[in-house]
């Protein structure tokens, strides 16, 4: 791998990687069972530099912001490299947001350029808010031949001959602005520096190294902090290969493991659970004798890997299971959302360790990770090298709010000094998550102090962001809470949102009102929907400027109502 201490910016590290491993394959892109693209590092450079030159000629300069809204594919990484090459700031946006949300964030980050897939661009241009779009140049990928691009350029044709000028950046310069939330209210744009990424990358690959020949299957969205690091920067600075799959259909994901002999993959808990279900069903379908033998082999593997994984041995003992994953899988990564320990244990017992970690966008990719020495299903691992963690004001059980300090912590929230000051206190970033350290230095998360949930699909949902969906509801007032915030739970699983309703005096909750709530809820993406509603009998406490005093309201609700009062929607 490259010695990242020698680099001041991502662009320079990537530039050297392209030269150092020029003949190695860096990218494979497949759509279902059809391979669409296969690029060596040299090919990658040949595609990216003419784009960087075209950006330069179009006036894209050091510090300019370019947003990307794309699904996982080769053009995502090629575009990102071209932006870094020109010293730009990348703004990776979640492609699953609505057009209105995309436009809001594009305006907030003041993006000069936008690189977007055609189907998403079409949706953006059809949005009523599009008239306020201020992005100067738009590059659209994969547009049909005669499509009306509404003034945008075709990505495939946006090329110029000639060597582009490389623009170096300093370590403290901004590399990316990543939105952790705020699509419906106060945008939280995490400003991350080149140093944040270089240090995070160094720490991660110290524990989970990549090398030429390693293949990483990129399923999590690349705009997500985890995939950006382990599905782009990490593999590239080590000469490894990233495999993109244009579909998340379970059958094609399973095929991709085998077809491309995947070494590493990152998964959200939902997909991990799906894989577990599939494997368990296969075990159950075995004839009684073979099923007995399989369980004996699993028990044997478990006893032989008690202290640490022995990948080679596990592949021999449980060869059919490993062949189902291509026979080369070394580990799967997960984090960002609660994973059932039984799922982690299941995979470890069959010889496929899942490295469970914990991180937040505000602090790069990962703060803790399981080092598998030994494997622990009940924790989110130990702090990565260079990450300082502490538990603030621990109670008698050692539980308190987790705070972090280190070179991976973001610089600030974009254009929000007040929120930055609340979040980074005396150099420590307070996470809003509750945890404790065990005797072996492993972090155990036990709940949240902040009013938000993380779905099994790895999405952070902040109640304030979805309240706009219920604006104008014919009640006196309403707001949304995370159920575990109202009634603290000693778990991070099964998180849900609750709509708190204050009806007018003598108003009843009619069927029509209920239907309106259901209809509004359904207009939200499935992962953002509220799970139930709660009737509250008092006016909401408010500030002088009429903002809801959420902490006080939560305390009042907690005192008067229990979880059982929630009516499921």
């Amino acid at each position: 791998m490259l010695n990242l201490d020698q680099y001041s910016c991502l662009g320079a590290a990537l530039r050297d990687a392209l030269d150092r491993w020029s003949n190695e394959v860096c990218l494979i892109e497949a759509d279902r069972d059809r391979e669409k693209t296969r690029l060596t590092y040299s090919d990658f450079k040949d595609v990216a530099l003419p784009l960087a030159r075209a950006l330069e000629d179009a006036g894209f300069n050091s510090g300019d912001r370019a947003a990307i809204i794309m699904t996982n594919q080769s053009k995502w990484l090629i575009s990102a490299y071209a932006v870094f090459y020109r010293g730009g700031v990348l703004v990776p946006l979640d492609y699953k947001l609505t057009a209105s949300e995309h436009l809001q964030l594009l305006a907030h980050c003041k993006a000069k350029f936008l690189i977007v897939e055609y189907y998403l661009w079409r949706t953006l241009t059809q949005s009523p808010e599009f008239k306020n779009n201020k992005v100067k140049k738009v590059l659209v990928t994969e547009a049909p031949l005669r499509a009306d691009l509404a003034g945008a350029y075709r990505w495939e044709e946006f090329r110029r001959k000639g060597e582009p000028g490389f623009v170096p950046r300093e370590r403290e310069d901004v590399a990316c602005i990543v939105y952790s939330s705020g699509t419906g209210g106060r945008p939280k744009g995490c400003v991350l520096t080149h140093e944040n990424y270089l240090e995070q990358c160094k720490a991660l690959i110290a524990w989970y190294p990549f090398w030429p020949g390693v293949r990483y299957l990129s399923i999590l969205p690349t705009n997500h902090a985890i995939d950006f690091m382990v599905g782009f920067i990490g593999p590239f600075v080590c000469g490894a290969c990233v495999v993109h799959l244009r579909t998340l259909r379970p059958e094609f994901v399973r095929d991709a493991f085998v077809r491309y002999k995947i070494t590493y993959v990152s998964l959200v808990p939902m997909i991990l659970k799906n894989l577990e279900r599939g494997l368990r069903a296969k075990f159950d379908e075995l004839p009684a004798g073979k099923r007995f033998l399989m369980h004996r082999m699993i028990a044997l593997n478990k006893s032989l890997t008690r202290k640490h994984p022995r990948v080679g041995l596990s592949r021999k003992i449980l060869s059919t299971v490993h062949q189902g994953f291509g026979g080369e899988l070394r580990a799967m990564f997960t984090g960002g959302a609660f994973v059932e320990p039984s799922t982690l244990q299941f995979f470890y017992d069959v010889g496929i360790p899942v490295a469970n970690g914990y991180g937040l966008t505000e602090a790069g990719t990962s703060l803790t990770l399981n080092d598998l020495n030994p494997f622990r299903a009940d924790t989110v691992g130990k702090p990565l090298p260079g990450v300082e963690l502490r538990v603030l004001n621990p109670n008698a059980d050692g539980v308190g709010e987790v705070a972090v300090r280190g070179k991976t912590v973001m610089s600030h929230y974009l254009d929000d000094p007040e929120l930055t000051a609340q979040t980074i206190v005396d150099g420590w970033l307070v996470t809003g998550d509750l945890g404790r350290f065990d005797g072996n230095g492993h972090l155990q998360l036990v709940g949240r102090k902040k009013n938000m949930i993380v779905t099994a699909g790895g999405k952070n949902i902040y109640p304030e962001d979805i309240e706009t969906a219920f604006e104008g509801l014919s009640v006196k007032e309403c707001c949304i809470f995370a159920a575990n915030y109202l009634w603290p739970a000693k778990t991070l699983g099964r998180e849900t949102l609750v709509l708190l309703l204050r009806l007018e005096q003598n108003q009843e909750l009619t069927e029509a009102l209920k239907e309106d709530i259901i209809a509004r809820n359904r207009r939200l993406p499935d992962f953002k929907r509220v799970g139930g509603y709660l009737l509250y009998g008092k006016d909401f406490p408010r500030t002088a400027s009429m903002k809801i005093k959420r902490t006080l309201l939560a305390e009042e609700v907690r005192k008067s109502l229990g979880r059982a009062a929630v009516v499921e929607l």
Binding site: Y119, L120, T247, L248, R249, P250, E251, N274, G457, D526
Partner: protein, 80 residues
């Protein structure tokens, strides 16, 4: 080529059979995540069944934001 109502009906029949839910419990405007009790991955699984049945190919993004059978039928009908 089936008309829209036939397509919708076939989708409801297939969903009921695939997820073992009584057909009469499914209605065109139902939120299939809720009615079938499935997550987004299982929805993709259903989509694969529908593709095989109708002999079409639907990119994943066509399902983005779709959560009721009627809209799903609309997307499928457009590709028949």
């Amino acid at each position: 080529m089936p008309n829209f109502d036939q397509t919708l009906n076939e989708i409801l029949n297939l969903a009921a059979a695939h997820f073992k839910v009584p057909r009469e419990k499914l209605a065109p405007d139902d939120d299939f995540f809720k009615t079938l009790g499935i997550d987004s991955l299982q929805t993709l699984d259903l989509l694969t069944r529908l593709e095989h049945h109708f002999r079409i190919e639907l990119p994943d993004y066509e399902l983005q934001g779709v959560s009721d059978f009627r809209t799903l039928a609309d997307r499928i009908q457009a590709r028949l």
